[in-house]
Amino acid sequence: MTLSVYLFAVGWPLAMAAALLVAPARPILWRMMPLAALPALLLGLLVPGPQLVRGDWFVLGLTMGLDQTSRLFVIFTSVLWIAASSAARHWMRDDPRATGFGVMFLMAMSGNLGLILSKDAMAFYGAFALMSFASYGLVVHTRDAGAKAAARLYIGFVVIGELILFSGLVLAATQSGSILLEDMRSTELSGLAVALLLVGFGIKLGVMPLHFWLPPAHGAAPVPASAVLSGAMIKAGLFGILSAVPLGVVSYSDHGTVVMAAGMITIFAALLLGVQQDSAKPVLGFSSVSQMGIIALGLGAGLMTPAAWPAIAPVLVFLAAHHGLGKGALFLGVGAWAAQAGRAGRVAVTLAMLAPALVLAGLPFSSGALGKEALKDALGSGSEVWLPWLILALTLSGVATTLLMARALAALWLHPPKAPPARPEALALPFLGLAGGAVALPVIWPLLDSGMAAPVLDAYSGALWPVALGTGIALTTAISAYAQHVGPAAFVALLLSPGRAVTGRMESWWSAKRRAARRVGRAVPRRLEGVGQRWRLGQAAIAGLIVAVLLVEATSPLRPTQTKTPAVLLDPTGQETELDLPDLETDTEIEETEALEDDLAD
């Protein structure tokens, strides 16, 4: 019974794909498209704990199930698929090859969900292959030269990857004596087997130097496909390694060294390659490569020091989910951006895209920062020789990601992507949903699995400066590029233009005020003059002054406060008398003060 639930979750998309071949059912099926991944999501949410179900009846015997890791994987993967399929429904509405896309899309979905739910190597491999090959159809969908080239590259890598993976799985199965993944990952596999598995999954993961297929494919695929390719499918590589490689059991220090080195190179080399891209989606693809470099760092450390693995594993899962949601949101954002007809809408979408972009870049308190800090903590128990370098690389990865994000957003405006005529808001909804999920991840994650979330939640909130530095570099570069583009003179003029505009406006404001003031200044005296003449204010002032002076004199004590100064003046008799007033003055003063004192005493 329970197996059938699992089979339903995996088979429902397949069934829809089959039904899509029947023309009359297509409209309703497209409408139902967002529901395709719903069973898997519900399964992931509702299954209470680790579960293993077997169906011996199925082919060679089938084992499916969920454990802590795969439960989280299936949840974020199905969320991504739901978002992508609701976008695809609108994206593909008028596409002549919509049916083919739908079929391939659903098949890839089925494969992706299936490999997560599989517990044995055969089923896993089958699902993995289904996903990989079906994705070819997604990559090649537009059929233009670029898409074809990308698809050719993609399929080449897929084929080689499947071969290597198959060899690795077979070897592992032989060595562990079981086809159950569980057994493989608890067996001491040989170095070769692990190497094959790592390379096989590494191709899907896109770690350098196995990344060549990834950016073109992500660029060529239609937006909903890119979102799942980047958000969900490359995580299948990680999931495969987590499932099949005996991490935390045996130390593979050579493998670990190589993976770590590859990861470190990946982070920054992808930056260098990514910033050279012209359009947004390949840039985002390189950003995915760069992010997978981070994950590779964790993997490498785990390979090297098994003791550190229990701390690293939950962080890697978190990072996978974080990147899946964020990158999926960004890809859908590109679609939403392209669907906007007007400038305002584009600006709005760009601003909205800043949220997942900054989350990816690791703004403090975002899932990006928490994940990276948690990874640093987890690595602390690993190799001490590597630790400082790892931490440095992780810190600087924030700068790298910021730059890539900036480049992607800039590329959006410089080389606007095309979109089929669709309802912009319909495309915006899944984008916003994923973006919200990416932002809210630190809150959601503990609700899903508090045990797995603990290391992340305990991590330091992260530093702002990498993002700020990246933003600064990006802005500087953008400005200098623009300056080169328009020429220095025009650039200086442009630099000054806001100042000029402000001063110009200030000036016009000021001159308007000045004109007004001048008008008032002219009018008021004229009016006053008129009033003065009409009411003969000058004449009235005479009377007024007489009254005022009399009033002041009447109200003041009849004692001069201004004492008379001594003067030599004529006496009536014609004799000169010196009026000796200074004494008088002091007398009056004394009297005054005495009077005052008396008053006060009273």
Binding site: E529, V549, L558, A567, P572
Partner: protein
């Protein structure tokens, strides 16, 4: 030969001159000039006497007050006399040249000499009834000068001036009546000795208001701009430079002998002065004609002089009168120069509309230069006498802590820069001329008089120290 007292000569020479000029209309100009010169000589003798004695007192006809009339000359009054004589002489010289109309020539000299008599009488007088008579004489002569040009505007302005002037004099007379009622005496000494009483207060109020009306302190200035602007140039120069000073002088003397009973009153007068500075400044900025602008600037300057008076404060008039006296002298010299120059400009260009000054292809450069020099003194830029007056005023105000008067003075200065620069722009702008620039027409005697006055206004500033010590001779306001 019997030496006649220069005090008496100062008073009677212009009077006889006036009569002679009236009787001999053909020779009026020469008679007048001679009389002014002779008066100047008498004043010079008086200066010598005052320098020697400190003060000179003469009783007219040998009768002592209160029945007789005593004349007294001290530093301040002689300084005023000298200013009057000097300015009068130069204006007379200017008038020789600029008055062309026969009727104007005929009446100008008797009126002007009568005016001179009146002013000399004011400066020498020691009793208030005499002062009343003298200001009436001045008023009648001044009105005569105002209407000299005979235009309708001039007559109308003159009539208005007449009403204000007579009313002011009558208010003064009423005050005189009260004083006599109270004390039975009219001389200054009697005023000093008088006990404060209600009648004396009323007398003071009436006299003060009468004098304010005659000095045209805001808001009693309504008659002044039209009267000064519409008179002929020499008349304007005399009216603005000299006539208002007579009333100011009486005010200065009177408020010393009958101190204003209250600080509030002093402040009130200061506020009226501030009002004059501001309102006059605004009106000068608005004025469309050059002479009107100059007339409004007189209103401003009178306000400034009252501010100088009002910052008396605790120190009393014993200090502040110096600033007022310096400003009176400076304004007398500079303003008469300015009016004469403005008259010259009007004569040469044919109009005095400020807005059209720069359209004229004739540039009376010398008159313009004179105008600018006079403006320097009136604005109060160093080293002119106006600057010294303003310096003394601001110094006193600052020392007494009266910052508001300092502020008003500074605002007034800035406004005066603003309104005079309107005129300078008209002088110096050349891109709106109607034709080729005509050459300078050569100099006239009428240019020399204002130029001399303007140069005097500036260079007297360098002689401020001797002037100050001179006006203190005879302790006009007490020996501090």
């Amino acid at each position: 030969m019997m030496m006649i007292d220069p005090v008496i000569l100062t008073l009677f020479l212009p009077l006889f001159g006036a009569i002679a000029a009236f009787v001999l209309p053909r020779a009026a100009a020469w008679v007048g000039l001679l009389a002014v010169l002779a008066t100047g000589g008498a004043v010079a003798a008086l200066v010598r006497d005052v320098l020697a004695a400190g003060e000179v007192v003469t009783q007219l006809g040998g009768w002592a007050p209160p029945l007789g009339i005593a004349l007294r000359a001290d530093g301040l009054s002689v300084a005023m006399l000298a200013m009057t004589a000097g300015v009068g002489l130069l204006v007379s010289i200017g008038a020789l040249d600029s008055l062309r109309d026969l009727r104007e020539r005929q009446y100008f000299w008797p009126l002007w000499l009568l005016l001179l008599t009146g002013m000399n009488g004011v400066y020498l007088g020691t009793d208030i009834f005499n002062l009343y008579v003298m200001i009436e004489v001045i008023a009648l002569a001044a009105v005569g000068l105002t209407v000299l040009s005979g235009t309708k505007q001039a007559v109308r302005a003159g009539l208005e001036y007449m009403y204000a002037s007579i009313l002011g004099a009558l208010l003064f007379l009423m005050g005189v009546g009260f004083v006599y009622l109270q004390t039975g005496r009219l001389d200054f000494a009697g005023l000093i000795a008088a006990e404060p009483s209600g009648a004396m207060s009323a007398a003071l109020a009436l006299m003060v208001v009468g004098l304010l009306l005659k000095t045209a302190l805001f808001p009693l200035h309504f008659w002044l701009p039209a009267a000064h602007a519409n008179a002929t140039a020499p008349a304007s120069a005399l009216l603005s430079g000299l006539v208002v000073k007579a009333a100011l002088y009486i005010f200065l003397r009177l408020t010393t002998y009958m101190p204003l009973p209250d600080e509030i009153l002093v402040t009130l007068i200061g506020m009226l002065g501030a009002g004059a500075v501001l309102w006059g400044g605004v009106q000068a900025l608005r004025a469309e004609r050059l002479k009107l602008l100059v007339a409004w600037s007189t209103v401003v300057q009178i306000g400034l002089i009252f501010i100088a008076f009002a910052r008396a404060g605790q120190v009393g008039l014993s200090e502040s009168w110096k600033a007022a006296a310096l400003l009176i002298l400076a304004h007398g010299v500079a303003k008469s120069a300015m009016f004469l120059a403005a008259g010259r400009i009007k004569d040469e260009i044919g109009h005095d509309r400020i807005a059209d000054l720069d359209k004229s292809d004739i540039r009376p450069t010398l008159a313009q230069f004179t105008f600018a020099l006079a403006a320097i003194s009136i604005i109060g830029l160093p080293p002119s006498l106006g600057f010294i007056g303003k310096w003394t005023l601001m110094e006193g105000a600052m020392a007494a802590g009266y910052w508001h008067w300092v502020a008003v003075t500074m605002i007034g200065t800035l406004m005066s820069v603003a309104y005079f620069s309107r005129v300078f722009a008209g002088f110096l702008r050349f891109d709106r001329m109607r034709g080729e620039l005509a050459e300078h027409k050569g100099w006239a005697l009428a240019d020399a008089a204002p130029l001399t006055l303007a140069i005097a206004a500036i260079s007297l500033g360098l002689m401020a120290a001797p002037i100050l010590s001179f006006i203190e001779l005879g302790y006009p306001f007490g020996a501090q």
